[in-house]
């Protein structure tokens, strides 16, 4: 009896599952005939998507004037939504890449799911920088393409960095996601009974046979991609924050933005994962895989990042006062007490106050409450971007040019519309792709663990028996 007692991790997968049952549990969703509920949801999502298309169409036709923008406030909801969606797009890659490198096995239950969300969120995000410009038809000038004008984009501009950062992030996340999918697609291909499924899944599983060599390549590429993705998680939102941090506008021009934006991004990302997970696991009966333990772990991350964000808010005020710059001081006072105070305090309550409830274990494990907070957090994070973007512009250096910004119906419709795109994609994902990384989650089952401990948890040296025939090779 050693003086240290080995406390086993609570099983990551509840219920008495073996490999086969897990495979069925996950992939049957894709093989079963489409449920009615799915169609209903899909129609709703498409309706919203239509709204988006109409809003964008009218924007192209009339010009950015249909939005509530004015002279001091050149960026409104478009940019806010962009930052918000990109932020949400952070959880996925963090879970899949960073937690993978840190060997956090619990990630396997949600990584597929979170990555999908990431990709769709980034899609929604990428719409906005594209459409918010005045002359959309020449937007391609931001790409360094040789042209008859002999002129390149301005590589000093954070907006240009954005273009590269976000597109890179999207590409890598997408590859990462797809590579992870390959074995599972193969599984579905093999379980599929009808020709079409066989062919389609067959094509996308790239002829996966599950041979040792395939697995070896798979693991390597997955590891490499994880390595590539990890810095991206940090770089994307850092660079997005540069859009503001690099400017001279009080309230934007601050060095705290990169860490503060990344923390906020993870904060909102996890909240969004939770929102979706809690619904999905109920509908698809995945409670055994996406357990309350997972929920609790994620709630802890929300608590941590939420507090980091809160700390950043305080720091901003301190620095504003400490810097002694009157414009800096003024802008922060205005945020808290000025025309936009309502937005500021919404942000504070949602982002700083609400996560604090998760100090209590009971609340961390309470499904309904978690769901509620997860939504509150995303509302809060939207307002954070609103406060940063709008208040700073509305009341900057020259009092003469101060003006109030309020959005028009088209700002709102465009934002609402992006949910149409998001949910459409997500529903398609749930319907046709395995929402859990089957291959990976099997690896965390007890069955997958080599039994090197006896019932008293004493370590037993495994005995290696080499067949005669092969012994010669050694």
């Amino acid at each position: 009896m050693s003086k240290y007692e080995y406390v086993p991790e609570p099983a990551l997968v509840k219920g008495n599952h073996d490999f086969a049952s897990l495979t069925r549990l996950v992939t049957d969703v894709n093989l079963r005939p489409t449920p009615k509920g799915w169609y209903v949801a899909m129609i709703g999502a498409n309706a919203l998507l239509l709204v988006l298309l109409v809003a964008i169409g009218y924007l192209f036709w009339e010009g950015t004037g249909i939005w509530g923008l004015n002279n001091p406030v050149g960026w409104g909801w478009a940019i806010i939504n962009f930052v918000w969606w990109v932020g949400i797009g952070h959880a996925g890659t963090l879970i899949s890449a960073i937690l993978f490198l840190f060997r956090q096995d619990w990630r396997t239950a949600i990584n597929r799911f979170a990555e999908a969300m990431t990709i769709f969120a980034v899609m929604c995000a990428m719409i906005f920088p594209g459409i918010h410009v005045g002359r959309i038809w020449v937007i391609y000038w931001v790409f360094p393409i040789p042209n008859q004008m002999d002129i390149w984009p301005n590589f000093n501009s954070p907006l240009l960095w954005d273009v590269f950062a976000v597109s890179t992030y999207f590409t890598v996340s997408f590859l990462f996601w797809y590579v992870g999918l390959v074995p599972d697609l193969a599984t579905i291909r093999d379980r599929a009974t009808d020709k079409i499924r066989k062919v389609v899944y067959g094509i996308f599983s790239l002829g996966w046979t599950g041979s040792n060599r395939h697995w070896w390549n798979y693991e390597k590429s997955y590891m490499i991609l994880a390595g590539l993705a990890t810095p991206l998680v940090l770089s994307v939102h850092t660079i997005v924050s540069f859009d503001f941090a690099v400017s001279v506008i009080p309230g934007w021009h601050t060095t705290i933005f990169p860490p503060y934006f990344v923390a906020g991004a993870i904060f909102s990302g996890f909240a969004m994962v939770l929102t979706l997970m809690i619904v999905a696991r109920k509908i698809y009966g995945m409670k055994d895989i996406m357990t309350d333990d997972h929920m609790e772990k994620m709630n802890i991350i929300i608590l941590v990042t939420g507090s980091m964000v809160g700390f950043a808010y305080m720091m901003e005020f301190f620095v504003a006062w400490y810097s002694g710059v009157e414009y800096e001081k003024a802008i922060f006072l205005l945020r808290a007490t000025g025309p936009y105070a309502w937005a500021y305090w919404t942000m504070m309550i949602c982002n700083v106050l609400s996560p604090q409830f998760f100090w209590s274990k009971r609340l961390r494990r309470h499904v309904g409450f978690t769901f509620f907070i997860s939504i509150v957090v995303n509302i809060g994070m939207w307002f954070e971007r609103f406060v940063i973007t709008v208040t700073s512009l509305a009341t900057d250096y020259l009092p003469s040019s101060w003006d109030y910004y309020s959005p028009t119906i088209w700002d709102v419709l465009t934002y609402v519309g992006t949910f149409g795109l998001f949910f459409t994609m997500f529903l398609l994902f749930l319907r046709f792709l395995p929402m859990v990384a089957v291959a990976e989650i099997k690896a965390v089952l007890p069955q997958a663990d080599p039994h090197n401990y006896d019932e008293n948890y004493d370590y037993q040296e495994p005995v290696e028996e080499v067949p005669e025939s092969q012994a010669r090779l050694y």
């Binding site: 301005n154 690099v246 001279v248 003469s400 119906i409």
Partner: protein, 1024 residues
């Protein structure tokens, strides 16, 4: 917009106080805050736009066009050469001709830029004494008037179009009867040709009467001089010699003063400070409502218009004991006699006798003018600061009286024909005259006017008037300089000028302006006509002082008149309403010019509307705040108009401006329900008895009316954008304007910079550090601008000049309301001081600063805004994709964005856009939807000068003063200097070497090329 209601709602809660409490550390007493900032406007939603956008398209009407920007890939473009090329026309090079603009009958000499026979821009004529090469807002906007598609396009017979020949026929037959009783009502006109014709007309018709009618003319002043001196004389000031100026409710620097440009220049030049040894004149203003002149004064006293008479008599009596000539007032006293100002002014005027000037506003009654003239005489100012001119073309009768007589005759039916020349009495005449009905008793009404206006609609015959740039004319400036009005283009709509019109009536066949004017000048030029004629056409002026200044002495009638006046002073119980000409539309004649409608009022910064301006105290007593509609009842008439709080306005008084609320004049002037040119017709409150102020009952209606004000926030918040001091303090500390003396410490990074590279502050960038570290190519000039705040009185001509030069669109009230104004140079107006009732108002013109380290340049993703070798912050429209990042990152917020396709939208709605397109400057691209734009330092002028210099001299650097920006050239007080910073002797370098020179937001190290010269006031210690 359900979703947003909570937003806006909570807004209004927060707005009231908390917002400003939060800033109270920026040193402000709470009471003041309430007024220094106006509540942020709540934007209406795009949804309600459908209607109003169309409205705004109509508005765009007379104001924009697409001069360039080919839409499709290769439109087939044609070149139409002359068939027979006129000499000295070089296609592509503009020609400049001298001409002159008549305003209230007084000419202001101008030079017209003419591209292949189409005038595109007007500048002042440097040889002309009324202009000195400078202009006012009306001169600048005249170009737009010329090309206004809403101008009347043909004669109308009872409302139906007829040809000009038809009118000639009618004239021939109708006016052959010389015994008919015909009344002529004409606007003021100084043209000698016109005067000849007038005399001929009066000879021809045995029963003719002639009235010269200007709703806001100088008649009171002239009548005043008759009371004082027994002769109808014009008062002309010469502020060059005035050390002390007392303005009694007289906005003599304002654009609408017939001699405003010259006066403003004289006053301002006496306040130029090159170093601490220079002296300044001292200006006292007594006024009810804030005027540019009042904001320029060193001391300002708020006084109800009705109390001014008493005040002036009290002043006269205070003086009477100490100088001779005012004996009538000796011993007289009233409630003002022991007012601090009376004794102070008396001392000042006596101390500066002979070098002082007392002025009073034209709107005030003749008696007041008489006293002021008497005082000026008594002070011995005549000959030095003031002179009295014999003006031949001024009628020898009180024109207000004359008009009343004619109207009563008309009502009595004793008039057969009324001929109105260019005047609009149906709209402007005092309400109780009921001119409209009077007209209906007349058999034949003939009217000449540029627009089919209220009067034309009542006339049997309307003749479309030719614009002064379309027809020959002549006349005198206010001070008596004689000029010829040289047309720049054939009449666009075959209109008749006044002289052609009169001679048609006289002779029965269409007059020829050219011959008529030449005849007149044949009379002047006994010998060598051809030569002298050519000279006057070239110079735009021949003889300057054609009105002889007469020596004056008080007439016996004066005393009796005064004794009567002293006894019954006018007084208004409760709230008085004051009617004034509008600072931008004058009496309404410019109502259809989008440029002027959208030009912010110099003091309220309101566009597109007139409002009931009142003091915060009065507003409180009425329980109204901004945009609350009040009902004003006076003389049985009643109007509803939005209230506006104006710090510094006198209590218990409401100032209204006229000219708005028009019907069926043109798409800009017309008042629409929603958002487009609105305003209220305030003339109904005008009464013959009291043209300036009347008693009124004012009540709150509970309605709201949205006002488009371009400045939402009126306090500096204790920031240092605007720096000023007094003359003594300046002499003590000439460096008062530097960042260090304002903040007590230097600009961060400057010291470190000194160690590294001499003068320059520390910087990440090596390039663009001119002049401290030459990395600009030395063969290029380096452009810079200095704006002397000591000379700016906020008239706004720079804004219009810029708009005219740079094809800046008019966007309509709705868009201005949204905060999308497009002006490249704006004129910020702040209220300074702690007492909300006695604030100082300061003006600060803000163009692009052309920063050497421009924040906008770093952030543009496509390099659409970059720096040129000659130090200009360039905006390249055709590269711009419209991210608006540059505008966000501009600390001075001078960048303007085309949120909609403003020019194009006009093209699809105007009846014949071609006409307006002619007003566009061919040297400047018309910007398309979705591109950013901003002040370019008039790069088209710079490039033209550079190329011409290069060709002529081979040098890449134009001579100093050869490049003038539009704003600089227009500014009457020479507040703006521009030039090459590499030339140490250039005017701009001299200005920048002045110790008052400072950079706005210097601490940001943006290194602006546009800098400011701090303001210095010259207060009287006695009043301090």
């Amino acid at each position: 917009m359900k979703d947003l209601e909570p937003t806006d709602h909570q807004m209004s809660e927060v707005k009231e106080n908390t917002y400003w409490k939060s800033l109270s550390e920026l040193a402000q007493n709470k009471e003041y805050q309430k007024f220094t900032e106006r509540e942020f406007p709540e934007n209406a939603t795009e949804l309600t736009d459908g209607v109003s956008r169309r409205g705004f398209l109509r508005v765009m009407g007379a104001s924009i066009a697409l001069a360039g920007l080919a839409a499709c890939r290769r439109p087939v473009q044609k070149i139409l050469p002359y068939s027979n090329q006129p000499e000295d026309v070089v296609a592509g090079n503009p020609l400049f001709y001298a001409t002159a603009m008549p305003f209230q009958g007084n000419l202001i000499g101008l030079v017209a830029e003419n591209h292949e026979g189409r005038p595109t821009k007007l500048e002042g004529n440097t040889l002309h004494p009324a202009s000195h090469g400078r202009t006012n807002i009306f001169n600048q906007a005249a170009i737009l008037e010329l090309y206004d598609p809403d101008r009347s396009r043909s004669p109308l017979k009872n409302g139906t179009q007829v040809s000009i020949e038809d009118f000639a026929e009618f004239a021939a037959s109708h006016f052959s009867n010389t015994n008919q009783r015909v009344a002529f009502i004409s606007e003021a006109n100084s043209s000698p040709t016109y005067q000849n014709l007038k005399n001929q007309v009066l000879n021809k018709f045995n029963n003719a009467s002639w009235v010269t009618y200007e709703p806001f003319g100088e008649d009171n002043a002239i009548e005043g001089n008759r009371i004082a001196f027994g002769r109808r004389l014009r008062t002309l000031y010469n502020f060059d010699n005035a050390d002390v100026i007392v303005s009694l409710n007289d906005d003599f620097m304002g654009s609408h003063h017939p001699n405003g440009i010259d006066y403003a220049r004289q006053v301002a030049l006496r306040r130029k400070l090159n170093d601490t040894n220079d002296t300044m004149n001292r200006i006292y203003a007594v006024e009810d409502s804030f005027t540019p002149t009042g904001s320029f004064a060193d001391h300002r006293l708020r006084l109800k218009a009705s109390e001014l008479e008493g005040f002036t008599y009290a002043l006269a009596s205070a003086l009477s004991g100490r100088i001779s000539g005012l004996s009538t007032f000796s011993g007289y006293s009233n409630e003002f006699s022991d007012h601090q100002w009376i004794s102070t002014l008396a001392d000042e005027l006596i101390a500066n006798a002979g070098r002082s000037a007392l002025t009073v506003g034209f709107e005030h009654n003749p008696k007041l003018h008489a006293v002021v003239s008497a005082i000026n005489v008594a002070l011995g100012n005549v000959g030095s600061t003031v002179s009295y001119l014999e003006v031949p073309h001024i009628d020898n009768q009180d024109t207000h009286q004359a008009l009343q007589n004619v109207v009563s005759q008309m009502k009595a039916g004793t008039i057969d024909t009324v001929v109105m020349v260019g005047t609009n009495p149906v709209f402007t005449a005092a309400a109780d005259l009921d001119f409209e009905n009077a007209l209906s008793n007349v058999d034949t009404v003939v009217n000449l006017s540029s627009y089919v206006d209220e009067t034309s609609k009542k006339a049997h015959w309307h003749v479309n008037k030719a614009h002064f740039l379309e027809a020959w004319g002549d006349g005198y400036s206010f001070a008596g300089a004689r000029s010829v009005i040289q047309p720049q283009i054939q009449p666009l709509h075959k209109g008749l000028s006044e002289i052609e019109f009169l001679s048609t009536i006289l002779t029965g066949n269409l007059g020829n302006g050219y011959e008529l004017v030449q005849q007149t000048f044949n009379g002047y030029y006994s010998s060598g006509f051809e030569k002298r004629w050519r000279k006057i056409l070239h110079d735009g002026i021949d003889t300057t002082d054609n009105f002889n200044a007469v020596s004056v002495s008080l007439a016996s009638s004066f005393n009796s008149a005064m004794n009567a006046a002293k006894e019954n002073l006018p007084n208004t119980s409760g709230i008085e309403v004051v009617l004034r000409p509008d600072p931008t539309l004058y009496d309404g004649r410019y109502a259809n010019l989008g440029w002027l409608q959208e030009l912010p009022d110099p003091m309220t910064k309101i566009t597109w509307d007139n409002v009931a301006v009142m003091s915060p105290t009065t507003a409180e007593s009425l329980g109204v705040s901004n945009e609350d509609v009040v009902e004003i009842n006076s003389n049985g008439k009643s109007i509803k108009i939005a209230a506006w709080l104006q710090p510094g306005h006198v209590d218990n008084s409401i100032t209204l401006t006229v000219g708005y609320g028009r019907e069926g004049i043109g798409r800009v002037a017309n008042s629409y329900i929603d958002y487009t040119a609105g305003g209220v017709d305030t003339y109904p409150l005008r009464a013959t008895s009291s043209t300036l102020f009347t008693d009124a009952q004012v009540s709150k209606t509970g309605e709201q009316y949205e006002i488009a004000c371009v400045q939402d926030h009126h306090s500096l918040e204790g920031r240092d954008m605007y720096r000023q001091t007094t003359l003594e303090k300046y002499k003590e500390n000439p460096e008062f304007a530097t960042f260090k003396s304002v903040h007590g410490y230097g600009v961060p990074g400057m010291e470190e910079g000194h160690k590294l590279f001499g003068e320059a502050p520390i910087s990440l960038f090596d390039e663009q550090e001119f002049p401290d570290k030459i990395s600009y190519p030395e063969y290029e000039p380096q452009w810079g601008m200095a704006i002397d705040l000591n000379s700016c009185f906020g008239c706004g001509v720079c804004v219009i000049a810029c708009q005219a030069e740079n094809n800046i669109p008019v966007i309509g009230k709705k868009e201005v309301k949204r905060g999308r104004e497009m002006h490249w140079i704006r004129n910020d107006r702040y209220f300074v001081g702690d007492d909300v009732n006695e604030p100082q108002a300061v003006h600060q013109p803000i163009p692009c600063m052309h920063c050497e380290l421009a924040p906008c340049e770093q952030v543009c993703p496509v390099a659409a805004t970059t720096h040129s070798d000659d130090g200009i912050n360039q905006m390249t429209y055709n590269r711009c994709i419209g991210t608006r990042y540059c505008a966000n990152n501009c600390p001075y917020k001078v960048r303007r964005f085309n949120f909609f396709n403003y020019p194009k939208e006009y093209l699809t709605t105007g009846d014949d856009p071609d006409i307006i397109q002619m007003a566009m400057n061919p040297e400047v691209t018309v910007r398309f939807r979705g591109v950013m734009e901003k002040c370019t330092y008039c790069v088209q002028r710079i490039n033209r000068a550079k190329i011409e210099t290069k060709i002529k001299t081979g040098s890449p650097k134009p001579e100093d003063k050869t490049v003038q920006t539009a704003c600089q050239q227009a500014c009457p007080t020479e507040a703006i200097t521009f030039g090459d910073l590499t030339d140490k002797d250039s005017v701009v370098m001299q200005a920048k070497s002045n110790n008052r020179n400072y950079q706005m937001l210097e601490e940001l190290n943006t290194r602006p090329r546009t800098s400011y010269l701090a303001k210095v006031t010259n207060p009287n210690p006695a009043l301090a």
